[in-house]
C-alpha cells in the first residue's frame, strides 16, 4: 500500500458517517395490516387487481378451466 492509499484509509476511518442506512417497508404505516384477516384480505384484493389487469381472454380461459375442474368435485364428499 502506498503512502496516498494509507492516508486515504486513515481518512476513511476518521470521517464520520454522513448517511444512515436503514431498511423501510414499502407499505405505508397506515396500510400495514395488524391482524391476519386484514392481511389476507389485502392479499386477496391485490390478486384480484392483478388478475383484472390480465387480458380478458386469459381470465376467461382460466375461469372455464376452473369451472370444469370444480364440477368434477361436485358431490364427491357425499357418502355413497
Amino acid at each position: 500500500m502506498g503512502s496516498e492509499s494509507r492516508q486515504l484509509a486513515n481518512q476513511e476511518r476518521t470521517i464520520p458517517l454522513r448517511y444512515r442506512v436503514f431498511v423501510a417497508s414499502i407499505q405505508q404505516p397506515g396500510d400495514t395490516p395488524k391482524d391476519p384477516a386484514a392481511a389476507a384480505e389485502a392479499v386477496r384484493v391485490q390478486r384480484l387487481r392483478d388478475d383484472a389487469r390480465r387480458p380478458m381472454s386469459i381470465n376467461l380461459a382460466e375461469g372455464i378451466a376452473l369451472s370444469h375442474k370444480l364440477m368434477q368435485f361436485v358431490g364427491t364428499a357425499r357418502p355413497q
Binding site: 386477496r44 384484493v45 384480484l48 387487481r49 388478475d51 383484472a52 389487469r53 390480465r54 387480458p55 380478458m56 381472454s57 381470465n59 376467461l60 380461459a61 382460466e62 375461469g63 372455464i64 376452473l66 369451472s67 370444469h68 375442474k69 370444480l70 364440477m71
Partner: protein, 158 residues
Amino acid sequence: MTEAAFDQLLRRLSEADVEFVLIGGLAVNAWGVVRGTKDVDIVVATDIENLKRVAAVAAAVNGHVQSGESFLSSQPSPASQLAGGEQVAIETDLGRLGVVQGLDGVPAFEELRARATVTEVLGVRVAVCSVEDLKAMKQAAGRTRDLADLENLDAAGS
C-alpha cells in the same frame, strides 16, 4: 350431461352464427374475477332465425330444458321455450346453457352488444358484456352470489 366443455359450447354457438353476448359467471371471469361457474349465460338476439340457430345448437348437443328443480315428464323443447321469450336453462352434453330473455335488469341484446368487448377464448371469438352492464345486472339480480361478484369486481378495479 357428460363432462362440461364450455369452450366447445361457445365454439358451437359461434360456428352456428348465433348472435349472443356473454353475461353471468363467465363474464365475471372475463372481467378479472376468476371463479367457478356452473353454466354459460348468454343474451341472444331475439329474431326468430337467431332463436332457431340457438335451438339447433342445443339439439345438436342433446339439449333439454330444465324446468324448476326437477325435469318435467313432458319436457318442453328448447325451441318452443325460446320462442316464448322466456328465460331458458338448457342442459346439454357440454354443460348448462342459460339463455336469458325478458328479465328485469337485463338490457336488450342490441344494447348489450353495442357496449360489449369482443375477445378470443380458446380460438373462439366471443362478445362479453361491458363491465358496467355486468355490474348493473348483478345489482338488479341482488342474490348473495351477485353481490359478492359486485364487490369483487369493484375490488379488482374492473
